[in-house]
Amino acid sequence: MSELREFVSGVLERRGAVVETCEPDGLNVLLPGPLQDAMRWREFECLDFRGAQAELSDPRRAIRIGLEGDWLEQFGALLDEHGRWAKRELALGDAPAAPGAPERMLGHALDLQNAVWRLQGQRATTARCLVLAIRYTAISDEKREGLVWVGFNRQTGAVLDSIVAKLLPGMRESEWPASDSSVHIDTESRQESALLATRLGPLLEYRVRQELDLFLRAMRRRFERDRARVHAYHDDLWAASQKRLALLANAPGEKAEADRKREQMRAAAVEREYRSKIDDLRHNYALRVKLTWVQALDLYLPVRRFDLLIRRRKGERRIALDWHPLVRMAEPPPCDWGIGLGTTRVVCDDKLHLTEPEGQSPCTECGKPFCRACDHACPRCESKKS
């Protein structure tokens, strides 16, 4: 459990303890008063991370630390609110500063279906990005937990998921130089709120669905099997009832009439029972996902920024699109409606919003195409479902 040992060592050191590693898999710690109180430990303690092996030889009466029990909660409490929001700058290093063929790169990165773009200029600059780590807890007939990372370019508004995914492993390995903490612009946090309010929810749902794809598929398979079983059982009962009804159909007399009614009631009861069982299934399999913010990173990345002019009919709009030399990838184009992970955009006539193709599709109620970034409801029939 070297990861746990490193974590515990890091937390205790940051809380003022003197920590010394001892093999195999142990720590000797000298704790300051407040930490002694918080952990209810003596001034000097030996911590043993060997789990079951520790049972074999424990001459020093070391404290056994493991993932079992509530150790993680106790050490987590020592973090308090630290580590939730940090700033980091990445340097260009040996990476190439610009793509070899910018026009070709942009041709791949931006696919405008109903407009044209012109490259107006390019420059090397620093992009300020927001990277969020979110923990999901999905609960249904089973529980599944995990972490997802999402990222935004705070200046262009682009979603940086694939770029973040490529950057993270290297960032974990490399040094983290201290930076100037004074950079903080309050106006940006207001923009941030708007960005997070509109973009984060759908993006997170999309990402969590991706993460839970196998889990969901397995659940759907079980659900379908249960649904088929419930149907087969009730269908048998119902078919038997229908058969009896068919036999009684032409029978004369009051008794036959009473039997018919009874059989109809039975069939109706089977239908009701079937629907209630399906309702139970739906309830049992409903997947509720709770998302909890874990930490955020204010990330400064060297980029090559391309200024583009978008033309649609008589309208024009300027956008910026960044190419990230550290991963040699262009980010997806800005997106005013939709999750914004792909490269295809449709431009609206009025305000030249860039949206995913569905953002300009016809209203499902009346058939009028409209821009979802301009109007939340169909301007003709006012249907919000469209």
Partner: protein, 768 residues
């Protein structure tokens, strides 16, 4: 804490707590005992639930809440958990929430609640008091409860059909038109529903944090990131073993299986995946995960004798878990020391012998894995008794066909994992077996429900696994007259020696096996082996003469055939397996002379040299000349042609060779060529395996399941050697016939078991 308390197992603690619950009537507190139990077994789910219950008995709902939270982090909440949660809420005076919880999990009925109550029936009055307190307001408001309305609706005819106030339209729809024929509808209309997916995210803390300045350095950030990962690992959502696997690609269903074994089954499960899906890999992953988490230290793998080598190799090369096996010299020389080992792979037949079983039962193991666990189906057998009596915490039973003959076998296996799951055998028979039809479950749904709590079975259909087709050809080569003469002479000499040295133990037998095996491999190997044997037996000069005669033989037909195969379709990679070092040397010289580029892979190479050999085979040369260890733990699925220059007598060794290229991930058809000289023991072995069990058409892993039924503590190669050593021609013929009959029966039994298990389990137990 006293040492005897420390040494108690979790089962002991469960018993102690239940006894405390039963005896404690008034005044005495049970929570301290529960705390003590938790100290000894901190992460145990059963103890956590009992501790929460104890806290409630002592009216400390906050403490109960802590235990429940800890339980929910690690395990899938079950009905007992929900009941204890509801009682905790009730002690917090949150009766509405408690009521909702009981309703959600169908625990409103007192007897349903009592059935799952961890506190036991002795505390039924206590439970009744709290259960009643939770439901009292609800019972007053019965008409408002939808289920109660539904129940009433079931009991009396629906109003729409009986009440006079019903609408005319509905009445018209409901009443049949007199004299009109009622046409039955096609079927009950299906209700179309899907799984609802809802997300809940409170962005306020994030937005509030972003309004403040970020931390300028990353120390705390990295610690929090670590905490997040460790939190996931704690609940087994992140597996630590994945980054420690060597040369294997783990598949999603295997990862799901491992998660379930750890989280839901708490290390006691029957892994009943269909053949070829990698039960051994799953068990190895569970083992590695427990080791990495420090949750176990001692491991015992019990397997049929023929699978020992395979387990040993897989654990060492794929999981980096060194272990000792019953094939080691130490097992024979110092069994006391052998059985004290921390990681042991043992033949179950050897382990159950009284002198070994005694040593095994005197110690404890953290994890016991039993491969081909259907051999434990008979509870009167020594194997069953041994596994049942072993002192163990976790138990993994592996079998693709757990039920071979009747349902009682299932009772036996699952009772090993979860004692009491089916109550007594009498209860099981009464409840789940149809009289006179031992293979048909009487109550299949309930039986499956219970089995789900102790068994995982992935099927190829569910995991959408398509295995490539395999084509095998055995090329029988006519040896030269001189070679035939040498082989005959050697066989006779071996028979004479065997009958003369009967009772002289395993060493001579091993030597005889080598003599015959090397003669089946190549004249070069035979000459070297006979020479070594002659040096050990100088009293008999015949052996020296025989060695000389072997050394005069050339490679003959087998070599020519090999060269022919290698020259065909030269762009295709070909893996040539050879058992004997001398044969390998000889073939290396031959290929060099014939200008066929090749890489060489054998046990004498270092790890880096082995990697380089595989890389050269992948990128540069068309042939890999390999000893038995060829490609162990390495990915060589880029090759799809295998040539067995010599043929091992142990079918598992043949299967292991094939398994190097015919495994999950191989996308092309696989070609296997076996080269044997006519009149040799190898020819007999192949004839038996091909004719009786269609060895080369079996899925990898299936041969072990079949052969397990005919082997006891002796593997197949021993049986064929015995037959070959029969002195007269007719006795030899009879002995091979007998092995053939056994193989026939074993194959038949295996096929029957497959059909039975398929019907019994279907696709109901998959991990994901």
């Amino acid at each position: 804490m006293p040492s005897d308390v420390q040494s108690q197992s979790w089962e002991d603690w469960v018993r102690t707590l239940i006894a405390a619950f039963a005896e404690t009537r008034k005044g005495t507190r049970v929570l301290p005992i529960a705390e003590e139990a938790l100290h000894a077994c901190p992460g145990n789910g059963a103890i956590l639930l009992l501790a929460a219950t104890a806290a409630l008995f002592d009216e400390q709902p906050e403490r109960a809440q802590t235990f429940l939270k800890r339980f929910a982090k690690r395990f899938v909440p079950t009905r007992p958990y929900h009941l204890v949660s509801a009682l905790t809420l009730a002690q917090h005076n949150r009766h509405d929430a408690a009521r909702t919880l009981l309703k959600q999990h169908d625990l409103q009925d007192f007897f349903s609640a009592l059935m799952v109550f961890p506190g036991g029936v002795e505390r039924r009055e206590w439970l009744m008091k709290w259960h009643d307190a939770i439901l009292r307001p609800a019972r007053r408001a019965v008409p408002l409860q939808p289920e109660f309305r539904n129940r009433k609706a079931k009991q009396r005819p629906p109003k729409s059909l009986t009440a006079p106030r019903q609408s005319a339209a509905r009445r018209a729809a409901a009443a049949p038109v007199a004299g009109a024929a009622v046409t039955p509808r096609r079927g009950l209309p299906r209700v179309d529903v899907d799984i609802t997916f809802t997300t809940e995210f409170d962005s306020a803390p994030l937005i509030a944090a972003l309004a403040g300045p970020p931390e300028p350095e990353g120390g705390w950030y990295r610690l929090r990131e670590s905490l997040a990962h460790l939190g996931l690992a704690q609940g087994f959502d992140e597996l630590l073993c994945l980054s420690h696997l060597r040369g294997i690609e783990s598949f999603w269903y295997q990862i799901e299986t491992v998660r379930k074994v750890l989280r839901q089954f708490r290390g006691r499960v029957l892994l009943a995946d269909e053949v070829g899906l990698g039960k051994t890999i799953e068990a190895g992953m569970v083992l590695k995960e427990y080791l990495l988490r420090g949750m176990i230290e001692s491991v015992l793998v019990l397997a049929p004798a023929s699978l020992i080598g395979q387990w040993h190799e897989e654990l060492e090369t794929k999981f980096e878990i060194p272990c000792s096996t019953t094939q080691d010299a130490l097992f024979r020389s110092d069994p006391d020391r052998f059985w004290q080992g921390r990681r042991i792979v043992a033949s179950i037949a050897a382990a159950r012998r009284s002198e070994h079983a005694r040593r095994l039962l005197a110690r404890s193991f953290d994890l016991v894995i039993v491969d081909e666990a259907h051999h434990l189906r008979d509870r009167a057998s020594q194997s069953y008794k041994l596994v049942d009596s072993l002192n163990k915490r976790f138990l993994l039973l592996l079998s693709a066909t757990p039920v071979q003959n009747d349902l009682e076998e299932l009772y036996n296996l699952l009772t090993l994992l979860k004692p009491g799951i089916f109550k007594t055998l009498k209860d099981f028979r009464a409840e789940y077996m149809k009289p006179g039809k031992p293979r048909q479950p009487a109550n299949p749904e309930r039986l499956r429900e219970l089995m789900r709590s102790a068994m995982i079975r992935n099927t190829r259909a569910v995991v959408a696994l398509k295995l490539p087709r395999r084509h095998a050809a055995t090329i029988r080569i006519e040896p030269s007259e001189a070679e035939r003469h040498c082989y005959g002479e050697l066989a006779e000499a071996v028979r004479r020696f065997a009958s003369a040295s009967e009772g002289h133990g395993g060493r001579e037998r091993l030597a005889l096996r080598h003599l015959l095996g090397s003669a089946g491999s190549s004249p070069a190997a035979a000459a070297a082996t006979v020479r070594r044997f002659a040096e050990r037996h100088p009293e008999n000069s015949d052996w020296i003469g025989l060695a000389e005669r072997w050394s005069l033989q050339d490679g003959g037909g087998k070599e020519a055939q090999l060269l022919d195969l290698l020259r065909r379709n030269p762009a295709e990679k070909k893996l040539v397996f050879v058992h004997y070092r001398e044969t390998l040397e000889h073939l290396a010289g031959l290929l060099a002379r014939e200008n066929i580029a090749f890489a060489r892979f054998d046990g004498s190479l270092s790890g880096a040299e082995k990697d380089a050999a595989i890389a050269a085979f992948r990128d540069d040369v068309p042939v890999l000349l390999s000893s038995e260890s060829g490609g162990e733990g390495r990915n060589i699925q880029f090759c799809n042609t295998l040539i067995n220059f010599d043929v091992p007598w142990n079918p598992m060794a043949i299967e292991q060779r094939i398994g190097r290229i015919d495994r999950i991930g191989q996308t092309r058809e696989v070609f296997v060529f076996n080269l044997v000289s006519r009149g040799t023991l190898e020819e007999q072995v192949l004839a038996l395996l091909e004719e009786k069990i269609s060895m080369f058409e079996l899925v990898v892993g299936e041969a072990g399941a079949i052969l397990g039924s005919i082997e006891d503590d002796r593997d197949f190669s021993d049986l064929v050697l015995d037959a070959w050593l029969e002195v007269t021609e007719s006795a030899r013929h009879g002995a091979f016939e007998e092995i053939g009959r056994q193989l026939d029966a074993a194959r038949g039994q295996h096929e029957d078991a497959k059909v039975l298990d398929e019907a019994l389990f279907g696709e109901e137990f998959e991990a994901a």
